[in-house]
């Protein structure tokens, strides 16, 4: 009996450990330029394995891209004295500024709840796991509001059945990023699952940065705010004078 168990373990363990992700990204950095209008990143890869494809349910793939986490204040409006005003707020310690999760099948088929809780893959888990203020009564509403508002803005996306898997070996998907991105390292995680369980995990990062003039203006405004302010004024006054002079010339000439 004990020997059988050992044998099963021996078969099972290498089978799990032997499936590894070899990943490719169409770009590992996103440059925010003056004409930046969102970006689409192609995530593709292959499953490297020493042994034959294991029996049982097919291999599923989850791709999760998460922007830098930051604290968010969620405010709720209520009607007071006839007008709608912010009455209460909840501070969510850390919520990703961007979160996209793409799966190769229906979410609850690809991943079971226990594994989701452990790896914090679904949007709900990615936020709820970190909210310290969640013990406040009705706080769930506030967490839901973050998801609802950011889903509407395209910042949070759950895309089921969008990862294409060929021969249980090759997979590919694309992640759409909107224009209003926060700068930082976007953690990109790939999970291979079988029967709802994670069998392999791979992690990399996509770097999102302002570049060129955008970078220069942003840095100047933070590091030399007075110079930045004076430059803004100089441009304003020059533009005002310039337009006046040009129109005078046009009228006379």
């Amino acid at each position: 009996m004990f020997r059988w168990l050992l044998l099963i373990l021996c078969i099972a363990l290498p089978a799990h450990a032997s499936e590894e992700v070899v990943l490719g990204l169409s770009q590992d950095r996103v440059a925010i330029t003056a004409t930046f209008d969102g970006s689409e990143i192609l995530v593709f890869g292959a499953v490297k394995r020493e042994a034959a494809i294991p029996e049982g349910p097919p291999l599923e793939v989850i791709v999760a891209v998460s922007g830098p986490a930051e604290p968010v204040v969620v405010r709720r409006k209520e009607k007071k004295f006839g007008i709608w005003v912010n009455v209460d707020s909840v501070l969510v310690d850390s919520a990703p500024s961007f979160y996209a999760v793409a799966t190769s099948g229906d979410f609850d088929v690809v991943l079971n709840d226990v594994e989701d809780l452990r790896h914090r893959i679904s949007i709900e888990r990615a936020i709820r796991s970190v909210g310290a203020a969640m013990h406040i009564k009705g706080a769930q509403e506030f967490a839901d509001a973050i998801i609802r508002i950011r889903e509407k803005n395209g910042l949070y996306q759950t895309r089921e059945n969008t990862v294409a898997v060929d021969q249980q070996t090759l997979f590919r998907t694309s992640i759409t990023m909107p224009a209003n991105l926060t700068e930082g390292a976007y953690q990109t995680r790939i999970f291979l699952t079988r029967n709802g369980k994670v069998v392999s995990e791979f992690e990399t990062a996509i770097d999102v940065r302002k570049v060129g003039l955008e970078r220069w203006l942003f840095n100047l405004s933070r590091q030399q705010p007075l110079v930045y302010g004076l430059l803004s004024l100089a441009i304003a006054i020059f533009a005002g004078w310039g337009a006046s002079a040009i129109f005078r010339m046009l009228r006379q000439g």
Partner: protein, 305 residues
């Protein structure tokens, strides 16, 4: 063509911004108002964060007012003395206003108070101007005389009198300073030049002749909004230069056109138009506060303390 704004961190259509700047610039030239009372809410509507909209709008007003005031310099319709007195009050008010603004921002109530300020001020001023200018048009001779006399009595009772030759006034400097402080506060909190308060205050309270009012208010607005821009840039880092440039390119061209249009129209007609515009913006903002919003929750960065 979409353009990414480095400080606001949003992507918007460049032509939309140019168009907004141009439209508001025309009004600016016609009425001698900075146009901020219209532009700031419009920027909210297209998704610019309120703090960035207020600070950047102050910067843009500098450009459109400077462009506008040059035309008034040439026509000699600027009362420098009155402008300087208003300016002293304005700078004081702006400094105080930025402190209040930053405090409200940390409280999460800045949107509400900015909008409430708009509804209250625009409602009162717009309503008063509308009635006044309608009356003025109906009986153009009789209306102004009694009102002027009434103001004379009240203002002549105050000390620190000064002669303002261009305006043809000999009045105390207290009312202009108070007006200046008030407008400075509004400039910092609401992202407006304050022309919509100052122009009526100069006409009805100080009794200045309408033709010098516009040039003088533009003169004061340039310096107050420049000061506000610097304060926001150094304390909040919310002045978006790319946004400001797009708005002011449209704005300065619009202001030139507006100034020309203004020359061909009568003062009373101008005031009816301005009053209607003010009431329209007021109504729109009031509706936003009164009607139930489709989304009761809002997200904010956890700044401040």
């Amino acid at each position: 063509m979409q353009i990414y704004l480095p400080i606001a961190e949003v992507s918007v259509n460049a032509f939309l911004l140019l168009g907004l700047g141009g439209f508001v610039g025309i009004l600016s030239g016609m009425f001698g108002v900075g146009g901020g009372f219209l532009m700031t809410p419009l920027l909210f509507f297209i998704g610019i964060p309120p703090a960035v909209a207020v600070a950047t709008e102050a910067n843009q007003i500098v450009a459109s007012s400077f462009s506008g005031v040059l035309a008034h310099f040439r026509r000699k319709t600027v009362d420098f003395r009155m402008g300087t007195v208003l300016l002293i009050g304005g700078l004081t008010g702006a400094a105080f206003g930025v402190v209040v603004f930053n405090y409200l921002k940390s409280m999460g109530q800045v949107d509400l108070l900015v909008k409430l300020c708009y509804v209250i001020f625009l409602g009162i001023i717009g309503g008063l101007m509308f009635i006044e200018s309608l009356n003025a048009i109906r009986k153009s001779r009789k209306n102004i005389a009694p009102r002027k006399r009434q103001n004379h009595n009240w203002i002549h009772g105050l000390p620190f009198k000064m002669r303002f030759r261009v305006s043809g006034l000999y009045i105390s400097i207290i009312p202009p300073i108070v007006v200046g402080v008030f407008v400075g506060i509004l400039s910092a909190i609401m992202g407006v030049g304050g022309g919509f308060i100052m122009v009526p205050a100069m006409i009805y309270l100080l009794g200045m002749p309408t033709k010098v009012v516009i040039g003088t208010s533009l003169f004061q607005i340039i310096f107050v909004t420049a000061f506000t821009t610097l304060l926001h840039a150094t304390t909040n880092y919310t002045v978006d230069m790319a946004l400001a440039v797009l708005l002011l390119v449209g704005g300065v061209i619009g202001a030139q056109i507006g100034t020309r249009i203004g020359v061909y129209m009568k003062a009373e007609q101008l005031r009816v138009l301005l009053a209607l515009m003010v009431l329209l913006v007021c109504g729109k903002l009031a509706l936003d506060l009164l009607l139930m919003p489709s989304e009761l929750f809002s997200l904010g960065a956890a700044g401040g303390h």
